[in-house]
């Protein structure tokens, strides 16, 4: 099976700052991959490299093409929403549909029109007259009607309210995703997408720190809330993260047997959000008070 995205030693420097440090990653077809990381971790740079929007060092193939030299061919198979509200403000809804239909060989006009008919967007409105949520709906309508092999979404729902965000991902799953398609998404709202992801990639300081299918996350990581007397025994098993909530301690373990842990208290699979917080704040820092952190 050929990989949709394959990066080997992908790096990017801005002057002397290295924002992406020799990233290796492979994304297979039919996956929904979340690229998750704090601000400035290099998410957007990785995405821009994949989309041929920025130069980079190292090897990167997207659909077998080099985004630096074969971008024009690549864009027939790849579509993306980078940032909300990038549709030109002067364009009319009908013009936007005409234009994408005119230039994109894989655009299904009927599909876009059906999607738009379900919204409050009027064909004669200009983008500048639409609300932020409607602009995103319009953009989604255009993108979902393109039969692309890879869809890249970079913070596609930033600044939208919960209802729009929810329906955005519902539409994505129900109307778009199938076995031949691959979606790569970055977002701050990890909780909202973790249920739709098949794989997660954590990125920190320009390095991939976790690259895992969702199903192996539950196998590999365990969250334990030890019973009152068992905290020290649990600590002896070397959790990589812990925190105190309402007087109870929650710990995260990597690669420990669940049976061994469940003898000490309550165990469950951690959420991606928990795992993200834990991995971005290794042992020690979580317990540090904010004033010391500032120092």
């Amino acid at each position: 099976m050929t990989a949709i995205i394959e990066a080997r030693g992908l790096s990017k420097n801005y002057g002397s700052t290295q924002v992406v440090r020799s990233v290796d990653l492979t994304i297979q077809a039919g996956r929904i991959v979340g690229l998750i990381g704090p601000n400035g971790a290099g998410k957007t740079t990785v995405i821009k490299s994949i989309l041929g929007l920025t130069s980079f060092d190292g090897g990167l193939k997207v659909l077998g093409l080099d985004p630096r030299t074969e971008r024009d061919a690549l864009m027939e198979e790849v579509c993306f929403i980078a940032d909300v509200a990038v549709l030109p403000r002067w364009i009319k809804v009908s013009q936007a549909v005409d234009l994408v239909a005119g230039v994109h060989p894989r655009f299904d006009r009927k599909r876009a029109e059906e999607f738009l008919a379900k919204t409050d967007i009027k064909p004669h409105s200009r983008v500048r007259q639409l609300s932020k949520g409607m602009v995103t709906q319009l953009h989604l309508a255009l993108i979902l009607a393109i039969d692309a092999k890879l869809l890249v979404l970079d913070e596609p729902t930033l600044g939208l309210d919960l209802l729009f965000r929810r329906s955005f991902y519902d539409n994505l799953l129900n109307d778009y995703f199938n076995k031949e398609r691959t979606i790569l998404v970055t977002t701050h709202q990890v909780e909202e997408i973790e249920n739709i992801l098949t794989d997660v990639l954590f990125i920190e300081h320009g390095k991939i720190v976790l690259d895992s299918p969702m199903e192996s996350i539950a196998e590999r990581f365990t969250q334990l809330i030890p019973a009152a007397g068992n905290v020290d025994r649990a600590r002896a098993l070397k959790p990589f993260w812990e925190r105190e909530i309402f007087g109870r301690v929650a710990m995260l373990f990597d690669g420990r047997n669940v049976a061994e842990l469940s003898a000490l208290g309550e165990t469950r699979a951690p959420s991606v959000a928990d795992l993200f917080v834990a991995m971005m704040q290794p042992v020690g820092t979580a317990a540090v008070s904010p004033s010391k952190e500032a120092a």
């Binding site: 957007t44 821009k48 989309l51 929007l53 920025t54 130069s55 971008r71 024009d72 864009m75 027939e76 579509c79 993306f80 929403i81 980078a82 940032d83 509200a85 990038v86 549709l87 030109p88 403000r89 002067w90 364009i91 009319k92 013009q95 234009l99 994408v100 005119g102 230039v103 994109h104 060989p105 953009h139 993108i143």
Partner: protein
């Protein structure tokens, strides 16, 4: 080719000032012709200049002179419309590749299978072919409407006799002259258009300043250090159009019927002038740079 057509259509949708400005100027010309305070003095004389010698008493004006006056008048209309177009196109080019980054719509354009070459070409075509062609059509029609307005207002009067409202063959000659001048003019101004796009794709803001400052600074430095004005001459020649480089001097016995031939004879020389070809080479290099820079330009 299909993509290019859609991209040009997009420029037409987006930049309505390119189409509205010539129509507004046409309207102004017609309103002035209809209601302007055009003065005819007691001797029924018509002032075509400021000096007394340029005053043409109505009775002395023969048909050749009247046709000449008509030809010059409608040519001036066209020139006004083209001059306004030049200003609109100047800002259109200067803003076109900057604005798409400012409002981030470049991320939408780049998500479509459109190459940088196609995008840049569509802007050049819009600025240098489509918009001028539109203005020439509009100015031709303006002159037809002028005929109607002028004959309704001054038909049968002395003034109507001096500035005739209509002469079919002169009108045709003027249209032909402007359309024939167009290719030479486009070639001559191509480097300026490419320079404006280069500033547009490169600047993060204040494109106007970036476009104007370098030549002005060079000109000032040269003036101060060497007391010469080669840069000023060069910029002036590039801005003033094709008649300057071919030393166009109308012959003393030029008439409305020979003017077109004189224009044609001189315009051909633009294409054999070395400066035209140096300009084209510079334009090609700048357009190449524009395409390369747009490829990875990123303000975020």
């Amino acid at each position: 080719m299909n993509n290019l057509l859609w991209l040009v259509r997009r420029e037409v949708w987006e930049n309505r000032s390119l189409w509205i400005a010539p129509l507004v100027i046409a309207g102004v010309i017609l309103i002035v012709a209809a209601f302007g305070g055009i003065h005819v003095d007691g001797k029924d004389a018509f002032w075509v200049g400021t000096g007394d010698d340029q005053r043409l008493p109505a009775i002395d004006v023969d048909l050749d002179k009247r046709r000449m006056i008509y030809g010059i008048t409608i040519s001036v209309f066209s020139m006004i419309q083209l001059f306004v177009l030049a200003i609109v196109v100047f800002f259109y080019l200067l803003d076109s590749l900057l604005n798409e980054r400012k409002d981030k719509s470049i991320l939408f354009w780049k998500s479509l299978p459109l190459s940088d070459t196609e995008v840049v070409t569509s802007k050049m075509l819009t600025a240098l072919v489509l918009a001028p062609a539109f203005v020439l059509v509009v100015s031709g029609v303006t002159q037809l409407l002028f005929a109607l307005v002028w004959s309704l207002r001054f038909g049968g009067t002395q003034l109507g006799n001096i500035l005739m409202p209509w002469d079919g063959s002169v009108w045709m000659n003027v249209q032909a002259a402007f359309w024939l001048l167009a290719p030479a003019t486009i070639v001559w101004y191509l480097p300026i258009a490419a320079y404006l796009l280069l500033v547009s794709v490169w600047a993060r803001k204040n494109a106007f300043l970036w476009a104007v400052l370098p030549p002005v600074a060079l000109l000032a430095i040269e003036g101060m250090l060497m007391q010469s004005h080669h840069v000023a001459d060069f910029v002036g020649r590039r801005l003033s159009g094709v008649f300057e480089i071919v030393n166009f001097e109308p012959s003393p016995n030029i008439t409305a019927d020979t003017a077109l031939a004189e224009v044609v004879r001189h315009v051909g020389r633009v294409f054999i002038h070395p400066e035209t070809w140096f300009g084209l080479l510079a334009a090609a290099a700048m357009i190449f740079a524009v395409i390369r820079i747009r490829r990875y330009r990123d303000d975020n």
